[in-house]
């Protein structure tokens, strides 16, 4: 007999669909994406997330780190691709290799996540098997017992398992799957944005500096990937921070408060554009690039009106000449995305790594870079920006995070199935390099991400 309380609960709506067939464990990928929209389940369905870990994160080039993190032989950096512990290490001859970070004996994770320097070999902390920096099994304690079974120095079967890797301008990517396009082809026109990141150094070299922020987000990884290219949210979500800054600036200029400095302090220059108009964001433009990549901003961005250090301009001109310096510094791409694991800000010398932990948990790491040969004021500006914006105690990042949290909980409502991505559908100018130029507030960047998502998720195998 139903209680009165139960009787008041509405029956489930018949039209809601499960995109994951529970019996065959197959996913109807094409039911997840339609022109101008995606199904809510791509953000909230744990089974879809598990499929993403293999079909998206094992089949794509995943950003691991920068070569300056493993500057010398014996330097290593241990991280993860999805749930796989991986290790990048510089060998004795200077080459960088990527391995599964797992002992070939019992499976112990060899090295804790993080970096280490100048190791001669990789020694398992459990039974003391030792591997060379080239991954070869070097020594097995009490090896006599294994004589007939092959676990001995030099055994190919017990060498550390290699992961395909590639480097572009010092940025190191790896891919679990042996299949698919090479790194350079996969990056395509996005190479320009990584070039701009590095070309901003007068010596054409950057290095990791200034520490890292690790910020756990209670949301699906794709919200972050989309939001960094979403030019319709800053003037809403970040108005609080921009308003607070503007009010203080107004107080200062009226002489009733902090004395007005000329030029405006960097922090004011950094916060003010977050309240930029729709026209400002539309006009900065965006590029949609094959394989899910994109950039927001070009000739203008939230960073393009910052004062430049005259000494920096001087050393740039000394290295590149006036014209090339102007060309390098006039490219101001707010945010660039190398789908699915990396967002970078070429004009700010920082990047953010997206590490999916669960359907509703994502770790975001922010790494900072020094432009070699540039004044230290540039690094100071980078860390100042990141403290203000990317920190979990900052004045911008936590507001984005709160929105992601509300997306995650809002999309739990199964009665409404579709998420809209239709803005400026069908608009854009095709470039000769395969990219498409669109307005800054277009949804085309998200549609591009989901076109790649769909292709990777659909395919049983992928070709080069």
């Amino acid at each position: 007999m139903a209680s009165p309380l139960v009787a008041q609960v509405a029956p489930p709506l018949q039209h809601t669909v499960s995109l994951m067939d529970p019996d065959s464990k197959t996913l109807d990928v094409d039911a997840c994406v339609r022109p101008g929209g995606v199904h809510r389940s791509v953000y909230v369905d744990a089974a879809i997330f598990e499929t993403e870990l293999t079909r998206i994160f094992e089949r794509s080039w995943i950003y691991l780190g920068h070569e300056s993190q493993v500057a010398k032989p014996g330097d290593y950096y241990a991280t993860r691709i999805g749930r796989h512990p991986v290790l990048m290490v510089r060998g004795q001859e200077g080459e960088i290799r990527v391995f599964i970070n797992r002992c070939m004996h019992k499976g112990t994770q060899l090295l804790a996540e993080g970096c280490g320097h100048g190791t001669k070999a990789l020694r398992c902390p459990y039974h003391g098997w030792v591997f060379g920096l080239d991954g070869a099994l070097r020594t097995v304690p009490a090896h006599a017992g294994y004589a007939e079974h092959g676990a001995r120095a030099g055994s190919g079967e017990f060498a550390l398992r290699n992961v395909a890797s590639g480097t572009y301008r010092g940025f190191i990517f790896a891919r679990m799957s042996g299949q698919g396009p090479g790194l350079i082809d996969w990056l395509g026109p996005l190479k320009d944005s990584l070039d701009n990141f590095v070309d901003r150094s007068p010596t054409g070299a950057v290095e990791v500096a200034g520490g890292v922020l690790r910020y756990e987000h209670a949301c699906n990884w794709k919200f972050f990937m989309e939001n960094t290219l979403d030019a319709l949210h800053p003037m809403v979500v970040h108005l609080g921070a921009a308003r607070a800054a503007r009010e203080i600036a107004a107080e200062a200029s009226s002489g009733d408060g902090i004395s007005r400095k000329s030029p405006a302090p960097f922090e004011m220059q950094a916060l003010a554009p977050f309240a930029g108009s729709y026209t400002f964001y539309d006009e900065m433009g965006a590029r949609v690039i094959p394989n899910g990549h994109a950039d927001l901003g070009g000739a203008a961005s939230i960073h393009s009106a910052y004062d430049e250090d005259p000494e920096y301009l001087r050393v740039m001109v000394a290295s590149y000449g006036e014209e090339r310096t102007r060309k390098i510094l006039s490219s101001s791409r707010n945010n660039s995305v190398a789908y699915p694991s990396l967002m970078f800000k070429a004009p700010m010398q920082l990047l953010r790594v997206v590490r999916p932990l669960a359907v509703d948990r994502t770790l975001i790491e922010t790494w900072h870079f020094r432009l070699k040969g540039a004044p230290e004021s540039l690094l100071a500006r980078t860390v100042s920006y990141s403290t203000l914006v990317n920190s979990s105690a900052g004045m911008v990042g936590p507001d984005d995070h709160q929105i992601y949290r509300q997306l995650q909980s809002g999309l739990a409502a199964a009665q409404v199935e579709w998420v809209d991505m239709s803005r400026y559908l069908g608009e854009g100018e095709d470039g000769a390099d395969g990219s498409v130029s669109v307005k800054g507030t277009s949804d085309a960047m998200f549609r591009g991400q989901f076109a790649t998502w769909q292709a990777l998720m659909r395919a049983e195998v992928i070709s080069a």
């Binding site: 690790r214 756990e216 902090i258 403290t387 949290r405």
Partner: protein, 163 residues
């Protein structure tokens, strides 16, 4: 301990308790007034971090940013501050690490436990404070408040209140 040292320890302890009470009462103007004009509220992003210029921080507020942060806390229009997150500070293990009575400056070390409650959940922060204080005519003021979280290497969640 000399009488002077005991008196200074008592005064500094009372000051730290009062500071914590102002934060927990969300008296942002009152908390802001505890700082000297060039005072700084600093939360490093790494253990043993030596400066805020060459390394990212979790918070690095000079007078200007402190005003913006407090204005934002008062404004109530930030998504992450909906429902006005509240806090409860416990401050303990207070010692005066350095005292210069002639210049009226003190360095106090202490430990904290801060409970943060926001509408979506709660979190407890643990760590240590360093307060660099100066005695002005009307009482102690903060030159530097340094906050070191024990789990600073993260991953960290939202820090929505003043720690």
């Amino acid at each position: 301990m000399s009488d002077t040292e005991v008196a200074a320890w008592y005064e500094v302890s009372q000051f730290l308790y009062r500071e914590a009470a102002l934060i927990d009462a969300r008296d942002w103007d009152g908390w802001g007034r505890l700082f000297v004009a060039e005072g700084r509220y600093w939360m490093p992003a790494a253990r043993g971090q030596r400066d805020w210029v060459s390394h990212v921080s979790l918070v690095n507020d000079n007078a200007l940013l402190r005003e913006i942060r407090l204005n934002r806390l008062k404004g109530g229009d930030a998504a992450s501050l909906q429902g006005s997150p509240s806090s409860s500070h416990l401050v303990s293990n207070i010692v005066i690490a350095d005292a210069d009575e002639a210049r009226r400056r003190y360095v106090a070390h202490s430990r904290f436990v801060v409970a943060q409650y926001a509408s979506w959940g709660r979190h407890t922060f643990y760590g240590s404070y360093v307060h660099e204080l100066v005695r002005e005519d009307d009482g102690l003021r903060i030159c530097l408040k340094r906050v070191d979280l024990v789990d600073v290497s993260g991953p960290l969640g939202d820090i929505l209140t003043i720690l």
